[in-house]
Point group: D2
Chain length 175, copies 4
Amino acid sequence: MNAGKSTALLQVAFNYEEQGLIVELYTAAIDDRYTVGQITSRIGLSREAKIFDANLDFLSLANSSLSCILIDECQFLTEAQVTQLHKLAHLHNIPVICFGIRSDFQGNPFPGAARLMCLADDIEELKTICSCGSKASMNVRVSEEGIRIREGAQVSIGGNATYKQVCPKCFYSGE
Amino acid sequence: MNAGKSTALLQVAFNYEEQGLIVELYTAAIDDRYTVGQITSRIGLSREAKIFDANLDFLSLANSSLSCILIDECQFLTEAQVTQLHKLAHLHNIPVICFGIRSDFQGNPFPGAARLMCLADDIEELKTICSCGSKASMNVRVSEEGIRIREGAQVSIGGNATYKQVCPKCFYSGE
Amino acid sequence: MNAGKSTALLQVAFNYEEQGLIVELYTAAIDDRYTVGQITSRIGLSREAKIFDANLDFLSLANSSLSCILIDECQFLTEAQVTQLHKLAHLHNIPVICFGIRSDFQGNPFPGAARLMCLADDIEELKTICSCGSKASMNVRVSEEGIRIREGAQVSIGGNATYKQVCPKCFYSGE
Amino acid sequence: MNAGKSTALLQVAFNYEEQGLIVELYTAAIDDRYTVGQITSRIGLSREAKIFDANLDFLSLANSSLSCILIDECQFLTEAQVTQLHKLAHLHNIPVICFGIRSDFQGNPFPGAARLMCLADDIEELKTICSCGSKASMNVRVSEEGIRIREGAQVSIGGNATYKQVCPKCFYSGE
C-alpha cells in the first residue's frame, strides 16, 4: 500500500487550490489507522477529509461547485458508488480522481477496485519497489512477528498485521 | 470492441517474428464470428490461432521456448487462467500480452478482464472514438433493427446483435 | 522504425471512418520507399495519403470539417509545423495524431520529433522488440552487407541502407 | 513548474529507502530559489541533495552500489549528461529517474529535456491544472506586477519573475 498514494492525492489537492479551485477530499470510514477523517502520508503530510461508507450517495454532489473530487482508499468503494462517480464525471462534469490498491494480500481484486479499473477513463500506476529491486505490484500481509500471513479476511485494518509491497516473483515464492 | 485489438495483436506477432522469435497466438473458443481458431481484424488482416476454453492450463507452456504469448478476446479467460498467465510471465519469464475489452454491454466487468486489470504489469488502452467525437470507453449491444439492447446475457456472440463503442455520456443517455 | 506505426495510423483512420467521421492522412514527401503519397505497412496494409514538405502550412486546415488529422513519418515535420499542429488542436479543436520515431541511427533526436515530444498532450510508445528479447527503443542503420553504419547524414531514405530496432544495450555495444 | 515534481521525487526516495535500498538525489546548481543542494517541495517537504553542473560526469557513479539515481530540475542536464545517464541505466544497471519540465516560457524545449524525451525508456506526465480548469502543459513567465513576460532568456531563476502553468489555449491567447 506504500507507494505514496496519499502524498499524490494531497499534491493534486494542493495544485487545484493554488489555482483558486475548490476540491473535496474523501477517505474510507473503514480506515482508522490514523484518525477517522484524516488523510495521512507516511512521508509527513496530513489533512482532514470527509469520510465515505457504503451508504454515501456521491450523486448528491452533482450540483456542487467542486472542480475535483479526490478519494483515498478507493478500493473500499462499493460498485454502485463507482458508477455514481463515473456519472458525476461524465454527466455532471466533475472530475474524480481515486487513489487505492488493486489487489488484496492474496492477489484477489477488491470489488470496488475491479469496478474502477473497468470504468476509469485513465489508469495510472504509482510505482514502488520490492526489496529485491524489482517493481512491486502485489501486497503481502505480515504478522507482528514478521511472518507472512496467507489466510484470513480481505480487510484487516487496525490489527497488528502490516502490509508490504512485493513483486509478483516474491509474491508467489514459497507457494 | 472495435478499437483495433486484433490488428494490434497481429502486429506484435509480426514484430517478434521479424526478429526470429517464436510466438503463440490464442483466441477464445467462444468466438466463432469468423472461424474457430482464427484471429481476424476488420481492417483486413487474418491469421490462424490456437483456441482456449476454460479447461486449458496455460502453465503447460512453462517449459516452451516461446518468446511471447498473445491472447485475443482475453475477457473470456477464467480467473484461474489469468493467474496461470501471471505465473508464466514472472516465474517462467515468458511475456504474455492480452487483448480484450473491459466491460460488457451493461457496463459490468467481465470476470477475466477484472482479474487481468488487477494483476497486469502494464495496462494500455487502445483508443477509439464515439460517433459524437469523444473517446469511446464503453460498449453497447444493438439489435438487427439498430435498437439498443439493455437486458440479456453477458455473452451473446454469434446472434444477430452487434456492438458499438460509445463514450460514457452516450452510454448513460436515455437511462 | 518497424514497430507498426503505419498499421496503427491506418487503424485509427478506419475507426474514425467507421463512425462516419472524416480524417485526413499525411506522410512525408521525403519518404519514397514505396510511392509518394502512400502510407504502407509492412504487415500488408496500404492507403493513399497527402504529402507534406517543409512549405505546407497546416493552419490552412483550420476551417476544415476534419475530425482528425493523422500524420505518418512525423519526425520530418519542421518545428514551425509542430506549433501549427498544436494550435490546430487547441485553438481550432481538430485532434492531431502523429506517428514517427524519436531518434536517428546515432541516438540523436530529429528536430521535429523533439518539438513534438515537447508539446504533445499525450505520448504513447508503440513497443517493439530487439533481437535479444529486450524492448527496442533505438534505431541502427545497417549496410547492404549487414554491417552497422555509425557515421553519415541523419536522413538517408532510398539508399541501400536499412534500419533495425535495438535495445539501448545492443545500441551501445561495440562503442 | 508546479505540478509536484519535487514531492514525487522525495516520495520515490522514501519508497526505496523504506526497502533498505540506497539512492542518490541531485538537483541543478542553477536553482538557488531555496538553498543550493536542497530539494524543496512547495507542499512542505525538503531534503538535501547533491548538485550537478555541466561539468559533472555521471558515469563516475558506474561502480557505485546505488539502487536508484533521482534527478530534480533535469531540464538543466546537458545532452552529454543525458547520454551518460542512459548508459548508467542500460550498461551499469542503475535506474535513473529524472524530474523536470519540457518547455520554457516561450514553448521551446530545454535541450536537456529534449534529449531526455528522446532516450527515456518510460515517460510519465505529472499532471496539473490551468486556472481555466483544463490540463496545464505549458509554462508562462509572470512579472512581479503579474504581467506575462513573452521575451527574455530561457533561464531566469532567482529574479522576481515567477512561473505559472497553463493549458495550450491560455498559452496562445493574446498572441
